[in-house]
């Protein structure tokens, strides 16, 4: 009975999600290519792909860039701005919370491609680009952002897109704190800053950690946003691991090498995911 009901779902997941993971591991041990000799008769070459990757400056740089992208956009940017929004929007004195909350939610809910397109205009080079025009007011000379500061631009964009996710997680956590506790601290003479530092922050340590894990996992696999705007360029400056995998597999046709890079990424993400599942203690 159980098998009959649950079976079809599990078959589909096994076939198209779990199966490819296993297949990726197999492919990563071969010299499979999309065209030419390796396409017909891929040979088993052991850990050769991994050896090549781990000694390739290109791949190691892509990992470094992924780390940079995650650290600055997710761990710093989204965390700080999301926390700021959450703290302000849980204040009882603030009106029109729905309006502000809805505005901050917008970047998260629109399709990835629309978000990217919007920023193509924002960061357009020359004096007429929106960002350049704004910065002109404070005396900054116009820049071709996506060419001159591609990584910084993408970090800002990804921060922008993820503020809402952090905000919602922190809002839920802050709302869960007993009012009496904050009341008591106020009576004892603690100001807003002290209440935040000594009461709010320690009490929502759990959700903060979970957010950091989740956002690291999702940010590691960001692809569309970067591919749409820079395609990993210029000169490979924004080639994060997800772009590296795509380029090497589908532009250079090295499927074996691309699979090995996928497996490395997968291992890192699954370790984070396992930590998450253990710590989240979600009810089953």
């Amino acid at each position: 009975m159980v098998l009959g009901l649950l079976g079809p779902s599990l078959v589909l997941i096994a076939l198209f999600v779990v199966g490819p993971v296993g297949y990726a591991i197999w492919l990563s041990l071969t010299n499979k290519t999309l065209t030419g000799f390796g396409a017909q008769t891929p040979e088993f070459i052991g850990l050769e792909n991994y050896r090549r990757l781990l000694t390739s400056a290109d791949f190691l740089h892509s990992m470094g860039r992924t780390g940079e992208f995650i650290f600055f956009s997710a761990i710093v940017g989204q965390f700080l701005l999301g926390m700021l929004a959450a703290v302000l929007l849980t204040k009882s004195t603030v009106r029109a919370k729905g309006l502000f909350g809805g505005a901050i939610l917008l970047p998260m809910v629109v399709p990835e491609v629309v978000a990217s397109l919007a920023w193509a205009s924002m960061l357009a080079p020359g004096q007429l680009g929106t960002v350049n025009r704004t910065l002109d007011a404070v005396g900054v000379t116009p820049l071709a952002w996506l060419q001159e500061h591609p990584m910084a631009s993408l970090i800002v964009i990804n921060t922008w897109r993820g503020i809402a996710f952090a905000m919602i997680m922190f809002q839920a956590a802050i709302e869960g704190i007993s009012d009496d506790l904050i009341e008591a601290a106020h009576i004892d003479g603690a100001g807003a800053r002290k209440v935040f530092r000594y009461i709010t922050l320690p009490l929502i340590r759990g959700p903060i950690f979970l957010f950091l894990l989740l956002t690291t996992i999702t940010t590691a696999s960001v692809f569309g946003l970067i591919y749409f705007l820079t395609r990993g360029g210029p000169g490979g400056q924004t080639q994060v691991t997800s772009i590296y995998i795509y380029e090497h597999s589908f532009a250079f046709f090295q499927l074996g090498l691309g699979s090995a890079a996928s497996v490395i990424m997968l291992v890192v993400v699954l370790v984070l995911g396992l930590t998450y599942v253990r710590l989240a203690r979600v009810e089953v």
């Binding site: 079809p8 629109v110 399709p111 997680m169 599942v277």
Partner: protein, 297 residues
């Protein structure tokens, strides 16, 4: 969720023992409130401003890459529907998202019921495994998936893409449906068994109808996710007549020096309107779905 406010006595806002009388305290409170509105306002503007160009250019007769006041026209939208290629994008997106949603939901309806009602060996482990499968990044499975699809003769086909998209969404939908079924008392079914219904008959006649609101939320959520996907169709589809909007927009944007900004932004508006509207009307449900498995309860 976002709109909920915490009721706290207003008196707590100004703290005793720090001011020079009531007037000073009130002035400080007003100043602080202004500051709060300024910061949250700035953050909101930052989040919304990038969309100004998309919307304004879509109704601009002479749309370009830069934000400017439009000379109003609905010509761009008219062209979207009369163009030989763009209506097809909309149709494809609807077909792929609709198909994947339907498939994922039907499977999760039965699967979620089993996870909720039967206490079989390894159920907990299975639930956690399903949750873990959710974190597998699409970028990491796309290469083997591509080769598999060629082998299965499902490459460059709606069927193949729909199967893959449904499989990606299933873990979350299973969790969602299990949660909804948990909230429906077993006693209702038990009554139907006594009346002669089979186990499955009880589920279909009593439980499934009651879970309709949950089913609706799960459907919207799945639809939005597939609707916005970029990587999977980019790899699994090769013929332009099968592209969904995301890929069509990317191709149009990449046509250097000859981008039709009016048509492209009109497409973007039509593409984002469904998701924005759904969030506007069902924000609470959709956000709850987003955080299923992420937050307790």
């Amino acid at each position: 969720m976002v709109t909920e406010s915490r009721a706290r006595p207003a008196a707590a806002a100004h703290r005793p023992g720090r001011g020079t009388g009531l007037r000073g305290a009130m002035a400080r409170a007003a100043l602080r409130r202004t500051g709060i509105y300024f910061v949250i306002g700035l953050l909101s503007v930052f989040c919304v401003v990038p969309f100004a160009w998309v919307v304004l250019a879509s109704v601009d007769k002479t749309a370009g890459l830069y934000l400017e006041l439009p000379s109003l026209t609905i010509e761009n939208f008219r062209r979207f529907f009369s163009d030989p290629t763009t209506p097809r994008l909309l149709f494809n997106s609807l077909l792929i998202s609709g198909g994947a949603t339907l498939l994922a939901l039907v499977l999760a309806l039965f699967g979620g019921y089993a996870l909720s009602r039967f206490k079989f060996f390894g159920r907990r482990t299975l639930m956690f495994t399903i949750l873990l499968v959710r974190v597998v990044p699409a970028t990491a499975t796309i290469v083997p998936l591509y080769i598999m699809m060629i082998r299965l003769h499902l490459n460059n086909s709606y069927t193949g893409l729909i199967l893959v998209e449904a499989a990606y969404q299933l873990p979350l939908v299973l969790w969602l449906m299990k949660g909804f079924f948990d909230s429906i008392p077993v006693e209702l079914e038990e009554a139907s068994w006594i009346d002669g219904c089979s186990r499955l008959g009880g589920a279909v006649r009593i439980v499934f109808p009651l879970s309709r609101p949950g089913l609706g939320a799960a459907a919207l959520f799945t639809f939005i996710n597939v609707w916005g996907d970029f990587l999977t169709p980019l790899v699994l589809l090769q013929s332009a007549e099968k592209y969904p909007i995301s890929i069509g927009m990317f191709r149009a944007f990449s046509a250097h020096n000859q981008v039709d900004w009016g048509l492209l932004t009109a497409t973007a508006v039509l593409y984002m309107v469904p998701t924005v509207l759904l969030y506007l009307f069902a924000r609470r449900y959709l956000l709850k779905a987003t955080f299923t498995g992420a937050l307790k309860g």
